[in-house]
């Protein structure tokens, strides 16, 4: 590598380019906007031209123009405009590429967070900020339809709007909040924990982040489509989905963009973890967050193409009049559900395994004890990975699939409780006789363990075929999924954000507000979702805008609590935003943790390490006299280990 020259010590964005291009030509949102328009027009004429040449009527079919121009080529134009492809295009055309001046690496001012940036730490924050925008919107939608559900009868929306809101809520929360929020936390933490200067493919990392706002915006834009937002639930079962108004296509394509984003990120994580570990960082010395993201990434890489396939088929059925799921043409309706759940069941582990990793970090650090059963914790992740692919049809017990498939799926589903149980018991054993620090991340971690246990147990109920036959499509399912996804995943996301907040921002959050946030969330969460078990078991169907009078009282409680749950998020936002701007300066290692990200400054230097550290021991040797995890050049021996 040649010596990199810099003209000044200021922001380096001009370096490498001899002149500053005007606002329309330089990478940014302005160029993004006109490139979007240009590519949309190209898509329009592509469709129009082909249909005219082939003589298909109508020449100007907006169903297809929206799909090709608006949802495929337009976003590609946007990415081109913001500069996500610039380096590659220079390289492709055989022109000498700009010497790697790291101009798009790291952030010195807040505007840098709105650019294509190759720094994994910046990308991590970009992920989190973006996903929390979608979290807020999805949460507001939930409160809207909870307001509708506060009493029986139809209050202020029609059923299609209700279905649209429910579907949008789920799609936003699953595809552009929970999955990518974990990707954001991992993006920030994993390269640091490995002792790597960045991810293996930084430009790909930036590109896969920018797929995400595209996906979320696409979901939201379906509200503007004639016929309203997609209204078939986040599962979007065929053949219903192929007969819906055009808004459905926004879901189909949004899922493709979100899916591509997570596949590319996962690929990046896998390559980073395999090829860029610091010397001495063997697989059995990796922190469990890294292990968790390793297994999650394997799940993503293997499973996510299946949801891409399922959404392609639905679109083909609509646009090209194929009969993948049309029985009259010889298609197989249940095929959609099989293919969809072959992704979407592993997806629930994609949505929880990174959370397991976060919790393992926090429990060990805050209990000042080595994690109990480190190797078994890693092996149980792999166990969940393997078993996760053998349980998909438990979502279809009442769908009319082959009878013989039920019992094997029930058994494998029950089996998956074993590795999960290993993890829960290991966390409890780690807590046992530890010196527990009950700060905000730890409160969220403990809240997670208890809530996830409830969600996991109702999952064990639902695994058995007779219970599913009784509880299928009732609010019991809604309660179960929210105990595992909110009580599970979202609490771990909050825990992770509080835990790494000082490392990300260099400032400390307000501990009292953090605790207030936890207790508000914990109480209102239980008040919102626990009664749903009850109304579900006595027969209230889910995904229906109206309900029988006898469920009225509990539903009113649920609706009021859901507003309290919404309000608790305001505390979180206030705490995060004010602390980020004006919080007290954080130490480099406020939790006295041993993993590598805490051994550098807060926030970390732009290239993480001056010299790659040497790893000499396990990551969780708290309370073990003289134990070291790593040796960093130029830093004194850490004293944490002796505590």
């Amino acid at each position: 590598m040649s010596v990199v020259e810099h003209t000044s010590h200021g922001p380096a964005h001009g370096a490498g380019a001899p002149h500053r291009r005007n606002i329309f030509m330089r990478p940014g949102f302005v160029r993004g906007a006109w490139c979007f328009a240009l590519f949309f027009v190209i898509g329009y004429y592509l469709v129009f031209g082909i249909r005219t040449l082939a003589g298909w009527d109508p020449h100007e079919d907006w169903n297809i123009i929206v799909l090709v121009g608006g949802l495929t080529l337009g976003p590609i134009g946007f990415l081109l405009g913001i500069g996500a492809f610039d380096y590659w295009l220079y390289w492709i055309s055989g022109r000498p590429t700009i010497p790697d001046d790291h101009a798009n690496h790291g952030a010195t001012k807040w505007q840098d967070y709105f650019k294509v940036n190759t720094d994994h730490k910046v990308i991590g924050v970009q992920y989190l900020a973006t996903t929390f925008v979608f979290f807020t919107l999805g949460g507001l939608m939930a409160m809207l339809f909870r307001a509708e559900l506060a009493q029986p009868g139809m209050q202020f929306m029609d059923t299609q709007t209700y279905n649209g809101l429910v579907s949008m809520h789920a799609a936003l929360m699953i595809f552009v909040f929970i999955i990518p929020a974990f990707a954001g936390l991992a993006n920030f933490a994993v390269p640091l924990m490995l002792g790597a200067p960045d991810m293996a493919f930084p430009r790909l990392n930036a590109l896969s982040f920018w797929f995400l706002p595209i996906a979320g915006t696409m979901f939201l834009c379906s509200f503007l489509a004639p016929g309203g937002a997609f209204a078939t639930g986040w599962t979007s079962y065929a053949p219903l989905a192929s007969e819906q108004p055009i808004g459905q296509v926004f879901f189909n394509m949004g899922v493709q963009w979100a899916g591509a984003s997570s596949i590319l990120t996962a690929l990046n994580f896998l390559v980073t973890i395999i090829t860029m570990r610091a010397p001495g960082m063997t697989f059995w010395r990796m922190p469990l967050l890294v292990w968790a993201n390793f297994t999650t990434s394997l799940l993503v890489v293997i499973a996510t193409p299946f949801i891409a396939g399922s959404q392609f088929f639905v679109m083909f059925d609509r646009v090209m009049h194929t009969s993948f799921f049309v029985p009259e043409g010889g298609g197989y309706v249940l095929g959609y559900q099989h293919i969809f759940w072959f992704y979407s069941h592993p997806a629930v582990y994609i949505m929880i395994l990174p959370g397991f990793g976060i919790i393992s970090e926090i429990i060990s650090v805050m209990s000042r004890k080595p994690i109990f059963g480190y190797r078994l914790m890693a092996m149980s992740l792999l166990g969940i990975l393997v078993l996760g692919f053998s349980v998909w049809a438990h979502h279809m017990f009442v769908a009319g699939m082959a009878d013989w498939l039920r019992v094997p799926m029930m058994i494998s589903t029950l089996l998956i409780a074993v590795p999960t149980g290993v993890k829960v018991f290991s966390w409890l054993a780690t807590l046992w006789e530890g010196r527990i620090h009950l700060n905000t991340p730890m409160l969220f971690a403990l809240g997670f363990i208890s809530m996830f246990l409830i969600g996991g147990l109702s999952g064990v109920y639902l695994a058995s075929v007779p219970i599913t036959i009784h509880a299928s499509d009732t609010y019991f399912i809604v309660a179960h999924i929210h105990y595992v996804l909110f009580g599970g995943s979202v609490l771990t996301i909050f825990a992770g954000i509080y835990y790494w907040f000082p490392k990300m921002t260099g400032r400390m959050y307000n501990e009292s507000l953090g605790k207030l946030h936890f207790w508000l969330t914990f109480v209102s969460f239980n008040l919102t979702f626990f009664p749903m078990h009850w109304v579900g078991l006595v027969g209230m169907p889910r995904r229906v805008a109206d309900y029988s009078d006898r469920f009225a009282d509990l539903n009113l409680i649920v609706s009021i609590s859901s507003f309290a749950l919404g309000a608790s998020v305001v505390v979180f936002f206030y705490n995060i935003i004010v602390s980020w701007a004006r919080g007290p300066i954080a130490e480099s290692n406020p939790w006295r943790a041993m993993t590598l990200e805490w051994q550098v400054t807060s926030p970390p230097p732009v290239f993480n390490f001056d010299e790659i550290p040497q790893v000499v021991g396990g990551p969780y040797e708290y309370g073990v006299p003289g134990a070291r995890h790593a040796i960093l050049a130029g830093t004194p021996a850490p004293s944490e280990a002796a505590v």
Binding site: G94, H102, I274, M276, P305, T322, V326, P327, H338, D610
Partner: protein, 213 residues
């Protein structure tokens, strides 16, 4: 050491990233390409799942109209097995020329690299054009039933991959004619090559399951 310690104090002072430790013998880009091929194989897997459902699982396949669905493809229609067979030969040959191109640059034979890439691109284009012409003359359309959905789905997905492969190879060829690549640095040829072999192998699977079985 002290210089580094000093840099650490200044935190954001400009210096390049430290060279990452190589913790695996396999190179990052090659591993990344294999992972990508893994997900691509799973994408094909979902299309093969659809094939399986339509052809094997579908309970209606033989009950509704047995005379129409019992055979594959259903009675009035035929797949152009022979033309597709010729096409298969073309694609398989192109894998060998691709391999030749890569071996040439490893031995610093630039002419061989260029010729190999051009031949591969020509054969890939020939395959794609034949596929297009086949579509035009095949005698059925996407709306003619599930067998057509599966046929166009699998061959179309594969065709899209051929197109992507051709674009990658064109980029490699462009740079090869500009004098890029050397016996030490030829990832730009190796990676499209791996992808091209994958596309090739995938076609053999598609050809056997859709046309021959």
């Amino acid at each position: 050491m002290t210089a580094h310690a000093e840099a650490a104090v200044h935190g954001h002072d400009h210096h390049g990233p430290p060279i990452a430790n190589k913790s695996s013998r396999i190179e990052a880009v090659v591993l990344g390409m294999f992972m990508f091929i893994g997900t691509e194989a799973m994408l094909f897997g979902s299309f093969f799942a659809a094939y399986f459902f339509v052809r094997v699982v579908n309970p209606d396949a033989s009950t509704i109209t047995p005379e129409k669905w019992a055979v594959w493809p259903p009675a009035p229609f035929e797949f152009p097995v022979f033309v597709a067979g010729i096409n298969t030969c073309i694609l398989v040959t192109s894998s060998f020329t691709m391999h030749w191109a890569l071996q040439s640059i490893k031995r610093n034979n630039r002419r061989g690299l260029q010729a190999g890439l051009v031949l591969t691109i020509l054969m890939g284009t020939a395959f794609l054009l034949t596929q297009f012409i086949e579509y035009a003359h095949v005698g059925f359309n996407t709306s003619d039933g599930a067998f057509a959905s599966v046929f166009f789905g699998l061959t179309g997905l594969h065709g899209a991959h051929v197109l992507v492969g051709l674009i990658l190879l064109t980029i490699a060829a462009l740079r090869a004619f500009r004098g890029h690549y050397s016996p030490e640095h030829h990832h730009g040829v190796e990676l499209p090559g791996i992808y091209w072999h994958f596309v090739d192998v995938m076609w053999i699977v598609v050809y056997v399951t859709v046309y021959l079985l």
